[in-house]
């Protein structure tokens, strides 16, 4: 199908894009790589009066390391992020999530910011940002504000972004050198949206106890959720994967749709969390061995 007729705007600077957004509000759709907006336009799921194409705004395409965070511009293309040495070194969790995002051909055009702004419940980049404890940077004509990823996603395709704002950057906390990470998912075909995904980051103390732990699931609820794992801190890492898997399965409120029942999503949560935690533990132990 073909999209409805729309006005096309191609700003060359963020200031121009947000000026347009403040004028058009929710009549406008922001287009970057078009890997999610494109299909929605073509299927006429969305019928915007105006499309604001931000794909030529060069300032949105940078990856920069600061003292405690790495900032990725909203327009960074997923395959460029996958090739980035800085991200591989400083934000390994994102580097692990990216191969699960769509296909080679869609990663060549889809952006990091686009996936976050779109907020599909099972999208990988939003889940990675939630598990990392990252931040979404939003810009309007009047101000810039920063929203923690754990508060940004409200539900399926719904975020804290206001109609006059655009996502300009994502902030990823730098990983500790001894932190272990993992990302895993189940989809009908590789590259499809996940039925469920799980991701974990952790650090071990000297006596093999959990010193830091972050765990999240995607595709299970209407948004990526961080599982509350405070009560597990300080626990010995030995049998932790099984208990965390049980805890996560009990804490989610799964959705049900044509690709999976609620029960199946709980079952996947149990399996995927156990895998993610085990893989992250293994990575943390290997790193500790190497750092000692």
């Amino acid at each position: 199908m073909k999209p409805v007729a729309f006005d096309y705007y191609r700003p060359e600077a963020v200031s121009e894009a947000v000026a347009l957004l403040s004028e058009k509000g929710d009549e406008a759709a922001v287009l970057a790589g078009g890997m999610t907006l494109g299909p929605m336009l073509n299927l006429r799921v969305v019928r915007p009066r105006a499309v604001i194409d931000i794909s030529r705004i060069q300032t949105l395409k940078t990856i920069s390391a600061r003292s405690n965070i790495v900032v990725t511009g909203a327009g960074v293309v997923q395959s460029d992020a996958l090739r980035s040495d800085v991200l591989a070194r400083e934000v390994p969790l994102l580097a692990m999530a990216l191969p699960w995002v769509g296909h080679f051909q869609t990663r060549n055009r889809g952006t990091l910011g686009g996936s976050v702004a779109h907020a599909d419940p099972s999208a990988e980049i939003p889940l990675a940002l939630v598990v990392c404890g990252g931040t979404v940077v939003l810009q309007s004509r009047r101000r810039e504000r920063r929203v923690p990823a754990r508060e940004f996603f409200l539900g399926a395709l719904t975020t804290q972004r206001r109609p006059d704002e655009m996502v300009t950057a994502l902030e990823w906390p730098r990983s500790a050198p001894d932190a272990g990470h993992a990302f895993t998912e189940v989809a009908q075909r590789h590259g499809d949206f996940a039925i469920a995904a799980a991701s974990c980051s952790l650090r071990l103390g000297r006596t093999d106890r959990l010193e830091e732990l972050s765990l999240g699931v995607g595709g299970v609820e209407s948004r990526p959720v961080a599982i509350d794992v405070k009560s597990f801190l300080g626990h010995p890492a030995g049998e932790i994967a099984a208990s965390l898997s049980e805890h996560a399965a009990l804490s989610v409120t799964p959705m049900e749709d044509r690709s999976a029942s609620a029960d199946y999503r709980v079952a996947l949560t149990r399996v995927l969390v156990e895998r993610a935690v085990s893989d992250a533990l293994e990575m943390a132990r290997q790193l500790r061995g190497r750092l000692q």
């Binding site: 729309f6 705007y9 060359e12 494109g38 073509n42 009066r49 395959s79 080679f104 051909q105």
Partner: protein, 167 residues
């Protein structure tokens, strides 16, 4: 700096490089790049399947990268360097990848083939010596209803070997 604006329904000229030649045609804002390449520039090797980025038939090279041409718009490609299946080899000849496809029967109806050939071109430039898993991962972005993929995988792996040996 200025914002480019094209009104809904407005006809305007899009100029780009197609298979090494400067070309131009008329578009309106909602015109898909695949439709522009076919209807305005007669690049009929660009096949249009699902029109929402899933099947991979419309894959072309835009500035060297294999991408869907159905989920971007002609207006976005102004000034781009585009290669379609027509530009992968000299007219009337086959390149190494195409020869390997013929040898291994990596196509039957051929509808998905132009897109796959464009993907493979970019893929082998990035990963000249892929293993089977990497080839299958790249191919997951294409739907082929004839071959069952095994022959395509064999063709890509053989083409990689042939190209790396050199002429």
């Amino acid at each position: 700096m200025t914002t480019l604006h094209r009104a809904a329904g407005e006809r305007f000229t899009v100029e780009l490089t197609l298979n090494g030649q400067r070309r131009s045609g008329e578009a309106e804002p909602r015109m898909l790049l695949c439709d522009f390449l076919r209807h305005e520039l007669q690049a009929f090797g660009v096949h249009v399947g699902c029109e929402h980025g899933v099947c991979g038939a419309c894959t072309v090279l835009v500035d060297g990268r294999a991408v869907r041409s159905c989920t971007q718009y002609a207006a976005q490609a102004d000034g781009a360097n585009i290669v379609t299946v027509e530009g992968l080899a000299e007219p009337g000849t086959l390149n190494e990848v195409q020869r390997a496809f013929a040898k291994h029967h990596a196509l039957q109806c051929g509808f998905c083939t132009p897109g796959i050939l464009c993907s493979v071109t970019h893929f082998l430039r990035d990963i000249p010596a892929p293993d089977e898993q990497q080839v299958r991962d790249m191919l997951s972005g294409h739907i082929c209803r004839c071959t069952g993929y095994a022959s395509i995988v064999a063709a890509v792996l053989e083409a990689a070997t042939t190209i790396s040996k050199g002429p």
